[in-house]
């Protein structure tokens, strides 16, 4: 009992990696993978191991560092989210054909839904397509043993191996025993789990396996359905094909693409995505799996205790009005002010946006696109050429976060400078990689384990590339920020070349732990409010409460941090300043 610890799946993966004796761990943060590397640091300290640990500037660097170490005879692991694997694609593909002297484990965490990504993507599919062995973890405990197993597999075959997790595994919490060391060659938790005749068989992997077990229990079907769990997705083991051959009907439940289903290949008896029984998008939640199992159990004639939802619940809830809660930047976030200034300076501009917290600028009408890391800069260059070809000057105001800038935008910015592309780039510098949990950026001068390193200021990088219009300012100064964006636009027109770069610098409030600023009096928005709601539409601070009965805005004292930036947003306050001025 004493040596049991409640941990999330990502900590369990880290425990498995440290137990397996990795020499090097590298990663770029991305939900749902971000907690693995900090947990490697934790277990390294607790177990007194010698491991080099680093946050790399992006996933490609993380994988190349790990690959280099593996080629030189070290056991290496690199961690990323599913779309990070795309960034690491060049070394990933080539790693199949280079001599690995020890082991290389690539942990790629998928985001079914997606909940916190621009797209769903199945890392099992990518690994399988290119012939890289891949294992699918089904729970935190399972992920811990699979991490060791997969690394041993890599060492034995001298080939890179992928361990796939999903956010439901990475972020599930359960008790994991600290004192059972994972055997290097234990048994893979795979194969037949329920054997109940050949009417209906379920083939499943990952978290879906555990959900299926609970659903069968609820529906009273655990005595009539046969179940086969797959842990090693590629290369598939022969037992699965024998299982499928022996069944009259087979359901395949896997996240997020058809991988097992495609490898099984037999559409005549498979209920899956190819035959329309399993949705092609979204997470396989308990309700989704319960629905599928009920339908196929009836089709296969094995019966089911039917669950039918009580729609009276929705009817009753629909009579109550409660506010929707779209994702928003925090109250007092300095870059709500940056977005506001961008939109105020050029209301009709094209606003290429990027990944991370600043995707949320969409609610202020200052983000039009969200493609990939660094995509705002690349798209801005493309938008410029498109408008330029047809004539009139079109303001293009792109935004990107500081970590994202270093991750992906350096070559894009250099390329634009070289070609003189006319757009404004606002780099929203909050001093950290906020959305994923405050990891350092190249500008922080701080390494993963807290030691200091050389810090690279963003403006120095931009200057080095030859950016001519360059401003660094605090976006809390909204009038100054609007002026700077306007001047950047005027400069592009006047000189006929760009890009113009503005570094909007103010630390993330959560990172800086500044709390409420007691030396500032929050503006009294309520007193002269005429109910126009422009502050809500254009600024949308979570601390704004609109009192419908009084028709006036109020500040939620529990959320407001006294940044006072909203005084610049209220038309009544602006009018007041003009009259006084």
């Amino acid at each position: 009992m004493s040596n049991v610890e409640v941990m999330i799946g990502n900590q369990a993966i880290a425990l498995g990696l440290v137990e397996a004796g990795i020499d090097l761990a590298s990663a770029y943060p991305g939900t749902p993978s971000s907690e693995i590397l900090p947990a490697v640091i934790d277990f390294k300290r607790r177990m007194g191991r010698k491991i080099h640990i680093e946050w790399s500037v992006n996933e490609r660097v993380a994988m190349e560092v790990a690959l280099g170490a593996a080629m030189a005879g070290k056991k290496a692991a690199c961690m990323m989210k599913q779309v990070g694997l795309n960034v690491a694609f060049p070394p990933f593909i080539k790693s199949r054909a280079v001599p690995i002297r020890s082991g290389l484990l690539i942990v790629s965490c998928d985001d079914p839904g997606p909940q916190s990504s621009q797209t769903e993507q199945d890392s099992r599919l990518i690994a399988t397509l290119f012939g890289v062995p891949v294992f699918d973890a089904s729970s935190p405990g399972d992920a811990r043993s699979l991490a060791s197993w997969a690394l041993a597999y890599s060492v034995e075959r001298q080939t890179p191996v992928v361990l796939r997790s999903t956010h439901r595994v990475s972020h599930a919490r359960e008790a994991v025993s600290l004192d059972t060391p994972t055997p290097e060659k234990g048994s893979l938790d795979e194969g037949l789990k329920l054997s109940n005749g050949n009417g209906l068989g379920i083939v499943t992997s990952g978290m879906s396996y555990n959900v299926v077990m609970d659903v069968l229990d609820e529906l009273g079907l655990e005595k009539v359905v046969s179940l086969f769990k797959v842990a090693q997705i590629f290369p598939l083991q022969a037992g699965l094909f024998a299982f499928v051959r022996s069944m009259e009907h087979v359901v395949v439940l896997e996240e997020t693409d058809e991988v097992l289903e495609a490898l099984i290949g037999d559409r005549s008896k498979v209920f899956g995505r190819s035959t329309g029984y399993v949705p092609r998008q979204g997470e396989l939640t308990y309700d989704v799996i319960r629905g599928i199992v009920q339908v196929v159990a009836e089709k296969a004639g094995v019966g089911a205790k039917f669950f039918s939802p009580d729609r009276a619940i929705e009817e009753a809830v629909s009579t109550v009005s409660f506010a929707p809660r779209p994702p928003k930047l925090c109250a007092g976030c300095p870059h709500r002010a940056s977005f506001y200034a961008m939109r105020q300076a050029f209301p009709k501009a094209v606003f290429p946006g990027d990944i991370g917290c600043y995707t949320l600028g969409i609610s202020q009408g200052a983000v039009d696109t969200c493609v990939d890391m660094g995509g705002s800069v690349g798209l801005a260059a493309g938008f410029y050429e498109a408008f330029h070809q047809d004539g009139p000057f079109m303001p293009i105001v792109a935004s990107i976060g500081d970590s994202t800038f270093f991750h992906a935008a350096l070559p894009l910015l250099y390329d634009s400078v070289k070609k003189g592309k006319q757009y404004i780039l606002v780099i929203m510098d909050n001093g950290t990689t906020a959305m994923t949990g405050m990891q350092p950026t190249p500008q922080s001068g701080r390494r993963a384990e807290g030691t200091s390193e050389y810090a690279i200021p963003i403006e120095e990088a931009a200057k080095g590339f030859g950016v001519e219009f360059l401003r660094v300012l605090d976006p809390y100064d909204i009038p100054g920020m609007i002026k700077a964006v306007k001047e950047a636009g005027a400069d592009l027109k006047q000189r006929g070349r760009g890009p113009a770069v503005i570094v909007a610098r103010h630390p993330c409030l959560l990172y800086a732990k500044t709390g409420k600023n007691m030396s500032v009096q929050p503006p009294d928005l309520t007193a002269d409010c005429n109910g126009c709601k422009r502050c809500i539409d254009l600024y949308g601070c979570p601390a704004f409460l609109f009192d419908e009965s009084e028709g006036r805005i109020k500040l939620d004292d529990a959320l407001c941090v006294n940044c006072a930036t909203c005084q610049f947003v209220c038309p009544q306050k602006k009018k007041g300043r003009r009259e006084r001025g």
Binding site: Q115, R173, N210, D214, K328
Partner: protein, 185 residues
């Protein structure tokens, strides 16, 4: 025995600490327990749902109309997550209201669910700090002594989960929540 508990609220209001205490309590009492959290993209102020399952379950998912208990640390999140609550389940909602809106009240009655509106913010403010309203909710819940969730077990787990300097205040708020429940139940 098995229990499915849904904790709902908004970011920054201690939903995850409460669910961590619920898991810790169950595990210390010798149960298997697991949880799964949904946080969305907001750092603060967004919807947070933490699903807690205690007993011989395999997955940390709670299905529609399967939750034995729904603890809502913020009122609007209760309505959003009401489909989780099973027939005959228990709901505790942090709210300043004295009664549920009548259509919801009628629904809960028809589904034989017990629902308690608790001004946890006010209880917490009186006994320590409004920030500890999650503890007032846990204390209130402890009065029902469901499974491992006695006040002693919850306070024991709390001692292991919160910083020592904050323990006494959290415990006081938790007990104030329990006293509120004992007066009403």
């Amino acid at each position: 025995m098995k229990w499915e508990i849904v904790c709902t609220g908004i970011g920054g209001r201690g939903v995850l600490l409460a669910s961590a205490v619920l898991i810790e309590t169950a595990i210390s009492a010798g149960y298997r327990a697991m949880a799964s959290d949904e946080l969305g993209m907001s750092q603060r102020g967004g919807s947070v749902v933490s699903l807690v399952k205690v007993g011989t379950f395999r997955s940390p998912f709670v299905g529609r109309e399967n939750a034995d208990v729904v603890l809502s640390f913020e009122e609007s999140e209760f309505y959003r997550n009401l489909p989780f609550l099973k027939k005959g389940g228990l709901a505790v909602v942090n709210s300043r209201r004295s009664a549920m809106p009548s259509p919801v009240d009628a629904l809960l009655l028809a589904r034989k669910a017990r629902c308690f509106l608790v001004n946890a913010d006010e209880i917490a403010g009186r006994a320590g700090s409004i920030q500890a309203s999650n503890m007032a909710m846990l204390g209130f819940f402890s009065a029902f002594a469901i499974g491992p969730y006695s006040i002693e077990n919850i306070v024991g787990a709390l001692e292991r989960k919160v910083a020592p300097r904050l323990f006494a205040m959290n415990k006081a708020v938790c007990e104030a929540g329990r006293n509120e429940a004992l007066q009403r139940v």
